[in-house]
Symmetry: C2
Subunit: 377 residues, 2 copies
């Protein structure tokens, strides 16, 4: 392997990469052309999710940094930012980095894998291809959203079945992000959609503005915001609505034994801080409590009933493929990642294939079944 | 140390005890007369919580076995028990084993420590002393309840400030429990209170009876039941009301960072199974969801507000001591266990001392304070 070249491109020492490969903090993916390395953990300051393609040239796509979440907004904004902040929408989809690798448009998941489904959709978009070719060394980061994807299903009127909304333009190798106004101008020049931009605010006025925006977004069933240094020299902060917490919890409690306990706890604790910061009275607290309680109880009851009635719990996604080959490629990709899926319905039209992909939720099914049969948890 | 003697009394091999002492699975308490060993984990089939007193004789008090909890009752009762089951109340206090050691009445906590507070109260009860003296080798197991204790404060009309309700008579050394009717007769003979006994039911009728009893208990603010093999040859099963889950959650969410995530998760998941087994409709589910949501949200909001207002979170218990010496002994006991307390108010009357013992909840205070100050979680 070309470790010396990889090390040089990343600006870290070769022995660190060797060690990380041995510890499997870096994984090599060989069943792809070109083969690539995935950083499963941070290694010497290079982010988890970084992918390094070993083609004729070495192409680095740095991992997307984890975004800090605000539980209690005002003091965090005050301490963290300098004078002004940009506020833009945080959409509820999955994080995608789109990069040009040996002349091909590839879409990477947060973890650094080339997702064949997302790649097929985004490489068909000429504007994205043109942008990447004319801006070499840049990566387009954005949220893939909509109702037809294998990860996060959420309806956005402007997105339809599959939408992509950019929120960052980064240097592929160095990970520096472009200032937000410059980014917007460039995206608009290429006709690439970006996430809703709510403006730039003085730090002192930002918290009130964010609360107002987040409440409005919540009413439309939308997630929340990301608050950024307009120059992108400081790490961004995300802040979401109670409705989003509730819908995350509702989603996870459909499969209660599949998720880590911390996932639940973190989403629950946010509710407390938001209620205090929003200075809620008795009626508002009761409304929040009911939303929280329902988001936990109802999906759990629904899943227990399904198992009692003999069903196996699955998480279903309707997906469209251009053809059998694209479908097979995607299934192979999922299986290699250890995901158990059943393809349950197939509909063919216009040469394409529409399938319902059912992802088996075995832990929850098995443990609920065990309790229901009197064998204990 | 007299390991050979201890090993013989426990019926296990000496090297196992040696190993457990080295691993600190067994701890020796030297600041007590007589010194004693505490099993902090199960060792070769001897339960966690077992205490072995090294006086003139070796006195073994076996640990109280962990009681299995039913999430979904009917199939568990059907599979687990033979033909009949006894149903009795599970009270909301703390588990105490009372034993005679070298002629003195000692009260042990679930973990196996001699609790000076509980010992002072129970050793003053002549009926208990008489029972233990006339029934050598027996241990009285029961729930200490009421409003004046350092562990679990819950008001029971029949208990007043401090009550003790027996639920098991066990062989101190062998841990075999007496059949329930024989136990009741013997306790009544000595005038020792036992937990409410709801009767013996055919296995097929038990679940319905338990549901009825648990609903009634819930309305009185009482916890639930324990279901036992009348002969005590099979392990018992506990089953509690939704109101109890909610009040456990409310208690724990006052100090959200003090409790393990599993504590929350387990209490939440029970709600789902009970709602399904009780076949609840929309209105009942909504009521349950609201109770669940409030039990999580409101205490958390209250604690966050207290920290915002500059307070330190504490868990307060009002305790009565016969005098300064008894108070000091108890404080020494708590400090040795690493518990941080502040004695905040003192009132003297009739030679006794009444104090408010404030147990500091540092993790929750510190982490909430950190979030509120914008330093992140």
């Amino acid at each position: 392997m070309r470790l010396a070249e990889v090390a040089e491109r990343l600006g870290i020492e070769e022995w660190r990469i060797k060690g990380a490969l041995e510890r499997q903090s870096i994984q090599q993916i060989d069943n792809f052309n070109p083969p690539y390395l995935i950083f499963r953990k941070d290694v010497a300051g290079v982010e988890r999710g970084t992918a390094v393609f070993l083609g004729e040239e070495v192409t680095v796509v740095r991992g997307f940094p984890k975004i800090m979440r605000a539980f209690y907004l005002e003091p965090l904004v005050r301490r963290h930012f300098s004078s002004r902040v940009a506020v833009e929408e945080k959409m509820n989809g999955y994080n995608v980095r789109v990069a040009l690798v040996e002349g091909r448009v590839l879409a990477l998941t947060r973890g650094g894998y080339v997702c064949p489904y997302t790649t097929a959709r985004l490489s068909a978009r000429r504007r994205i291809g043109r942008f990447l070719k004319e801006n070499p060394g840049k990566v387009l980061c954005g949220e893939a959203v909509g109702t037809r994807n294998p990860y996060v299903v959420h309806h956005y009127p402007e997105a339809g079945e599959f939408g992509f909304f950019a929120f960052d333009i980064r240097d592929a190798a160095g990970n520096r992000a472009m200032p937000v106004l410059e980014r917007n101008r460039l995206l608009e020049e290429y006709g690439i959609e970006h996430v809703r931009f709510f403006g730039i605010f003085k730090k002192e006025e930002a918290t009130e503005a964010v609360f107002r925006v987040v409440r409005e977004l919540a009413q439309e069933g939308r997630e929340g915001v990301v608050i950024k240094d307009p120059e992108m020299r400081l790490p961004p902060i995300k802040y979401t609505s109670s409705q989003t917490n509730a819908s995350d919890l509702a989603y996870a409690f459909r499969f209660p034994y599949e998720y880590g306990r911390d996932f639940f706890f973190s989403r629950i604790i946010r509710e407390g801080f938001q209620a205090v910061e929003w200075d809620e009275g008795e009626a508002e607290l009761e409304e929040r409590a009911l939303r929280l309680g329902k988001s936990i109880l109802l999906p759990m009851v629904e899943s227990i009933r399904r198992v009692r009635d003999g069903e196996v719990l699955t998480e279903d996604h309707v997906l469209d493929f251009a053809g059998e080959e694209e479908l097979e490629e995607f299934l192979t990709y999922l299986r290699r990642q250890g995901v158990s899926v059943v393809v349950d319905e197939v509909e063919r039209k216009d040469g394409g294939v529409r399938v319902v992909l059912r992802r088996l939720r075995r832990s929850s099914t098995d443990r609920i079944r065990s309790v229901l049969s009197g064998r204990g948890e």
